[in-house]
């Protein structure tokens, strides 16, 4: 396991991606404070709330998420296959342990980097926008809040809501990384792995049942709708992860 962490932190490409992922939410906060004259209250200025004009950073970060995860950690297996290192490692560790630790490292590192990036954004927002006064959610009418109790509840507990959404979205990113790593197991070629990961992610973020609604706090969607999205995503991801893992462990690679 130590070897995998060492690999993550000594790979220049991974370090570059980690820095980018840490920077996006900070750039979003800078843009937000320059686009509007009214300074937002801290709980409304976070990256996941998405109050910036055009949602540029959210699009660059979240729509293209599979690329960052692939370069950072998920394509490790493809690199191993290219260098033949996978055979050495499987002989040394055994198949179960080799594929298992590949999955584990992709989950834990993606979860940690995403969580750290958003937590840093949370802390910086609360420091920089401490004296912010503009709160767009205060303009949401009672009429709408009455039919959307979930939104009303979130707005009355803004800090907890933000923290819960940061945790849930980080977990989802971790599971997404597991799924992408599983795709790499089955298609150990960059061409197919990148293409398929992208298709899968774009199908999930499109339409009215977009998975990005799970990432965003203070949306007007009811709890039932969000629960449906989260369940169908987790079921789909689990099928891909389990079938790929068992296929790899059961079939003969060497």
């Amino acid at each position: 396991m130590k070897f995998y962490f060492h690999r993550l932190l000594t790979n220049k490409k991974s370090i570059f991606i980690i820095i980018i992922m840490l920077l996006y939410p900070i750039i979003d906060l800078i843009l937000l404070n320059n686009q509007w004259r009214g300074k937002f209250v801290p709980s409304q200025s976070l990256f996941l709330v998405g109050n910036s004009e055009g949602h540029m950073m959210q699009i660059l970060f979240l729509w293209f998420l599979p690329i960052y995860l692939l370069i950072m950690v998920c394509e490790n297996y493809i690199q191993d296959v290219e260098t033949g290192e996978n055979k050495i490692l499987i002989l040394k560790l055994g198949k179960k342990k080799y594929f298992g630790s590949n999955l584990f490292i992709s989950f834990i590192s993606s979860f940690a980097v995403f969580f750290l990036s958003l937590l840093l954004n949370f802390i910086i927002s609360f420091i920089i926008n401490k004296d912010g006064t503009h709160n767009p959610s205060a303009y949401i009418s009672q009429q709408l809040l009455e039919v959307r109790p979930m939104l009303a509840y979130q707005l009355s507990h803004p800090v907890i809501t933000n923290l819960v959404f940061i945790l849930i979205s980080s977990l989802l990113v971790g599971i997404l990384a597991l799924t992408i790593t599983s795709i790499c197991f089955i298609f150990p070629s960059r061409k197919y792995a990148y293409f398929l990961s992208f298709i899968l992610w774009f199908l999930l973020i499109m339409g009215s049942s977009s998975i990005l609604l799970i990432f965003q706090p203070f949306t007007e969607y009811p709890f039932k709708h969000l629960l449906k999205i989260i369940l169908q995503t987790i079921i789909l991801f689990s099928i891909i992860i389990c079938s790929s893992y068992f296929y790899k462990v059961k079939t003969d690679e060497i």
């Binding site: 959210q58 729509w63 767009p136 303009y139 709408l144 990005l212 949306t219």
Partner: protein
């Protein structure tokens, strides 16, 4: 003043509206409006007065969803905000 009569995202879905001047500079903050809400009035910055302004809108969600909205807006309402 903004009143949305029809939103392609749904009748409780929020769209953010703000004013821009001819140069594309924002001359008001962005405010949320949904179809089921009545006419809403919002304040603008001082540089929005005595100039042509344009209403701009975006989905409050950063999903890839796009939709159309229909409604009324007026920038000279005579409603004053005491800030």
């Amino acid at each position: 003043m903004v009143n949305v009569t029809e939103s392609g995202e749904g009748n409780t879905a929020i769209t953010q509206y703000w004013l821009e001047n001819a140069g594309g500079t924002n001359v008001s903050d962005a405010f949320p409006v949904a179809e089921i809400e009545n006419t809403k009035y919002f304040p603008a910055y001082d540089n929005a007065s005595q100039t042509d302004v344009y209403l701009t809108a975006q989905n409050n969600n950063y999903t890839s969803d796009t939709y159309g909205v229909t409604g009324y807006w007026d920038e000279e309402t005579g409603v004053f905000y005491s800030h």
